[in-house]
């Protein structure tokens, strides 16, 4: 154990793998010393585990109806009560974690690389390429995100895939901004010049040398954005444009519970607690990551 730790914390790592693992180890250590970040990491980890092991955690089927058990209040048998079709809300919330995780992962996987590459190209080349790309980015940035997503879904048609596409379309500009700013800080550094003098093409410089340096600020930003993505996806589901029934999407579940909010409060409120918990988890984790990876930025934004 001690030798593994010494290997991880070695001052002169002998391989790239050792250096990366050592960095990861140090960051994890610092994160866990920050109480809010540790809580956030635990929540996010719990979300991932719940999504993977949903069939074993959930006591009932998420879609199995049982009309004689409809609208039962929370009890030992049904921890969060049942909905208007007698489905166990707890089981549906558990399965809903799969949908939420899918949405945030896909949005991150689509939007972050697109923004990263656009920003890096704009920052590296400068001139009119920069002005054109950043002009488009600024137009998207100054648009209200939720409204834009709504309009895109209206044109694409309701459904979870289109909701993901619409959210990704509204999410990339922020990443482009960040990676451009990062790129500008080191585009004239000597190590970039060195690669260029060795005959490295712009594509190679951007992919191999510029993008890796943007990743840490990108990871912070994506984590902080997760809460917003979850809320937008739930909002689309609530309006009826996101995941369609009988999928146990949290926003759509709240929407179904609207009719019963005055008497059977648990139908609408329970999925909401799941949304809040997971969003808070990502916020805490993002704040903590920012403190650890980017201490100079402090508590801005």
């Amino acid at each position: 154990m001690a030798s593994a730790r010494a290997w991880l914390l070695a001052d002169s790592p002998t391989s790239r793998l050792q250096a990366n693992l050592g960095r990861l180890y140090r960051i994890t250590g610092m994160l866990l010393r920050n109480p809010l970040a540790a809580v956030g990491a635990a929540i996010v980890l719990a979300l991932v585990l719940t999504a993977i092991f949903a069939p074993w955690i959930a006591p009932y089927s998420p879609v199995g109806q049982s009309l004689q058990d409809r609208l039962l209040p929370p009890s030992a048998e049904h921890l969060m009560g049942t909905d208007e079709l007698g489905r166990d809300i707890y089981s549906r919330v558990i399965y809903g974690s799969q949908i939420t995780l899918t949405i945030v992962l896909l949005v991150a996987v689509i939007a972050a690389p697109v923004g990263l590459v656009i920003g890096a190209i704009a920052g590296y080349f400068g001139g009119w390429i920069d002005r054109a790309l950043m002009g488009i980015t600024d137009i998207f940035l100054s648009m209200p995100k939720l409204i834009l997503a709504l309009a895109f879904v209206a044109a694409l048609g309701p459904g979870i895939n289109n909701a993901i596409i619409a959210i990704a379309i509204t999410a990339w500009p922020a990443y482009a901004r960040i990676s451009r700013a990062e790129t500008l800080t080191f585009r004239n550094s000597e190590f970039i010049d060195a690669v260029r003098l060795q005959g490295g093409s712009p594509a190679r410089i951007i992919v191999r040398h510029v993008l890796p340096l943007c990743t840490s600020s990108m990871i912070i930003r994506v984590t902080l954005d997760m809460a917003g993505i979850i809320l937008t996806a739930a909002g689309l589901g609530f309006i009826g444009l996101g995941a369609q029934p009988p999928l146990p999407e949290w926003g759509a579940m709240i929407s179904r519970g609207r009719t019963f909010i005055l008497d059977q409060w648990w139908v609408a409120t329970m999925p909401g607690f799941a949304i809040i918990l997971v969003s808070l988890g990502f916020c805490f984790l993002g704040d903590g990551l920012r403190d650890v990876l980017d201490p100079k930025q402090g508590d801005k934004g």
């Binding site: 648009m143 939720l146 409204i147 209206a154 044109a155 917003g228 609530f238 519970g257 609207r258």
Partner: protein, 360 residues
Amino acid sequence: MSFEPTTEPASATPALPGQKGRRALKTAGSFVWFVVTIALTFLGLLAITFFIGRVIPIDPVLAVVGDRATPAVYEAARIEMGLDRPLPVQFLDYVTDVLTGDFGMSVSTGRPVISDLARVFPATLEMATIGILMGIAIGVPMGVVAAARQGSWVDQTIRVFGLLGYSVPAFWLGLVGLAVFYARLRWASGPGRLDIFYDGLVPPVTGLMLVDTLIAGDYDIFWNALDHLILPASVLGFFSLAYIARMTRSFMLDQLSQEFVTTARVKGVPERVVIWRHAFYPIRIQLITVIGLSYAALLEGSVMVETVFSWPGIGNYLTTALLNADMNAVLGATLVIGAVFIFINKISDVLYRVLDPRAR
């Protein structure tokens, strides 16, 4: 909701004394630049709505007339929309239409979209305005107190409160508010702008219910309107409060760590004066930008809240149109919300530059 500043700070070439003419020229220049950027951004917004309305749908005609239209209606709409012409020409026509206030007809209400929007917009404006006033009145003092007692339990509570503003779904908070304050406690009125038996009694002048009832001198309806407004406005206000408190706190912490604050304390200035006069006074300009941004964000957030409270504003109009696949109405509402959003954003950006001597 995102709150990043949307434009780069102006290049800071300090104007030397005795260069009034050049400075006036520079001001005029930056004004022209402001008009140009705002026009370009609006053009971008139009390009996006055009793209959404005419390019993405496989059959834009069907999206406008609905699938129950007869072939004759369909053909007429196709020619009226000019879909037989090339896209750039169509876009030019679209821009001309929008600039002359022609947003097309709404299929679900059967009226021109522009008059629908004019009718519903005041309701949203009223709710968002009350919401932002609540956010300022509570959020700013909260942020100041949190910064003044950094690290204390007050500060921690306010921080968590601020993060809740990023993680609570607005529609959920609205529903819970209805369940608690309307159904259980009976402290607030239910959905809608007025009780049903007051409906239509007050002649609309401004469209703002609170103002109209006062003009009509009908105080019963005024109190009823306020009663209906207070819950949805508080839900909206919570989100601006969380953001404003968070930003005020971080601005105040910046100021309180400055040397002039230490100097003031060493001179024996009372702590209350240090906080409000020395530290708070300089951040008021930054706060204007923050308030502007969060006001714009509230117009957007009202979409969800209005849906929950059946509030007859632009957000409710938008969601109803979405569910009816009423594309003209959707795009019209998107344009108006987008335009107001962009305008407030740019204005607060300019205000910051005009008011802050360092950015001039």
